[in-house]
């Protein structure tokens, strides 16, 4: 049987530790014992494949899921999903969720005193195309308070969840907005040691995908773990 190469491990410092005490919830929920290094087996280099039969093509427009338009600033969030070898990750599922423009989630646990929007659920999904591209139409989420510490506020963000080709490539992350003054104070954003890695979570303003008289564009490229021992490297890609 052919030997499959595993997926690459993270560069030191570019991924968060499980324990990050300034993020208080991590204190009782992170393992105290060292993780056990597991070389990838067939179980890790394979993974769930979510096909087009599970996809609602309308789910990529979060502004058209109800009878009326949601309140807030309409935006286009788009980008590419690549692997660490700069290859597009085609036909992979991207799931997103977010607060509404007032900073309120449609979730029973969220009791923030800000209005719900009957025209906004805050849930979307899409498959990437053959070039790894995705595109969502949504509204800019609001900042909101949380109870991590005194006067704690989350910067505006959109949650992203991706599978990629294998169990080993699963990624859940958050996208932030350029210039958000709350970012330097956010323990969730700041949990990763490597500053450049952290800053890649901040989307960039995107003229190219801005629609005149309609919506601003933001670009957020996502990189998933790539295969080890890749014979050819393709130059270019992310900054």
């Amino acid at each position: 049987m052919a030997v499959l190469p595993g997926y690459r491990r993270p560069y030191p410092g570019t991924q968060p530790n499980h324990l990050h005490p300034p993020y208080v919830s991590s204190i009782k929920r992170s393992p105290g014992k060292p993780l056990i290094y597991l070389p990838h087996t067939l179980s890790e280099v394979t993974g769930p494949i979510i096909g087009p039969e599970k996809i609602d093509v309308k789910a990529s427009d979060l502004t058209r899921q109800h009878s009326g338009e949601p309140l807030g600033e309409r935006i286009i969030v788009s980008g590419r999903v690549l692997d660490e070898n700069s290859r597009p990750v085609a036909h992979t599922l991207v799931e997103v969720w977010q607060a509404n423009a007032a900073g309120r989630y449609l979730h029973k646990v969220d009791q923030h005193n800000a209005p719900l929007d009957p025209n906004f659920t805050g849930c979307g999904h899409a498959l990437t195309d053959a070039e790894g591209r995705y595109r969502f139409v949504t509204i800019r989420p609001g900042e909101y308070p949380w109870r991590n510490h005194y006067n704690a506020w989350r910067p505006a963000h959109i949650h992203f969840s991706l599978f990629g080709p294998a169990f080993a490539t699963r990624l859940v992350t958050q996208m932030y907005f350029p210039g958000d003054p709350l970012i330097p104070f956010d323990p969730i954003f700041n949990c990763t040691a490597d500053e450049k890695a952290r800053n890649r979570l901040i989307s960039v303003f995107d003229w190219e995908n801005t629609i005149p008289e309609h919506a601003l564009g933001y670009r957020f490229d996502i990189v998933l773990s790539g295969r080890e021992a890749t014979p050819i490297e393709i130059p270019g890609g992310n900054k």
Binding site: P10, R29, L38, H40, Y105, S161, L201
Partner: protein, 190 residues
């Protein structure tokens, strides 16, 4: 110059909004071959308190030991309708349960077959990146020669074993995030 994988961030407390569309706690539709099993347990924190906002994802081979994935090149049959994927949220008391079939054995890196197992990801508020673990079956003789189990010190292996519990036909397996009985978590990269 190669790229670096994007930094992981917590799913937070509100993931249901975006991830509920793929919730599935029954992997084995009628007609799927194999021994039907139910696995139930709780996710608990360092104080033994239930974690009501965790998400478990499972990934497994079919009863033949074949993954529904193009990189599984084994000459074994896939089963239409069996994806091998489940996504199960915990509820208020930290519990979860799912129904599936017992997976067959798949090849390991040492040339031997691995013992039957289910690969598991655990996500919750407080975890900036997922935790990866595995479910094995307590009554399997092949556990003794399993590649991954043998990476684990013997005193901790039981945390990976689904055991017969008080209820007939239900295997119990818990996720203990921290503490003396902490579940074994594997480093698989991200």
């Amino acid at each position: 110059m190669s790229l670096q994988a994007t930094t992981s961030q917590t799913v937070g407390p509100y993931f249901r909004i975006g991830l509920a569309g793929l919730y599935s706690n029954n992997l084995a539709a009628p007609g799927i071959s194999g021994q039907r099993i139910e696995i139930a347990g709780k996710v608990l924190d360092a104080d033994g308190q239930p974690v009501p906002d965790a998400l478990i994802e499972v990934w497994q081979a079919n009863a033949n030991g074949k993954y529904a994935h193009p990189d599984d090149k084994q000459d074994k049959p896939v089963e239409p309708g069996f994806t091998g994927f489940g996504r199960i949220p915990t509820v208020a008391d930290g519990s979860f349960r799912f129904t599936t079939i017992k997976p067959g054995r798949v090849p390991g890196p040492d040339g031997k077959l691995q013992a039957p197992h289910i690969a598991v990801s655990v996500f919750c508020r407080g975890l900036e990146r997922r935790l990866v673990t595995r479910i094995y079956f307590a009554d399997e003789a092949s556990n003794a020669e399993d590649y991954a189990l043998n990476l684990v010190e013997p005193a901790r292996r039981h945390t990976l074993l689904a055991q017969k519990g008080s209820r007939e036909g239900v295997l119990e397996w818990n996720v203990i995030l921290q503490g003396p009985e902490e579940t074994v978590f594997f480093d698989t990269g991200l």
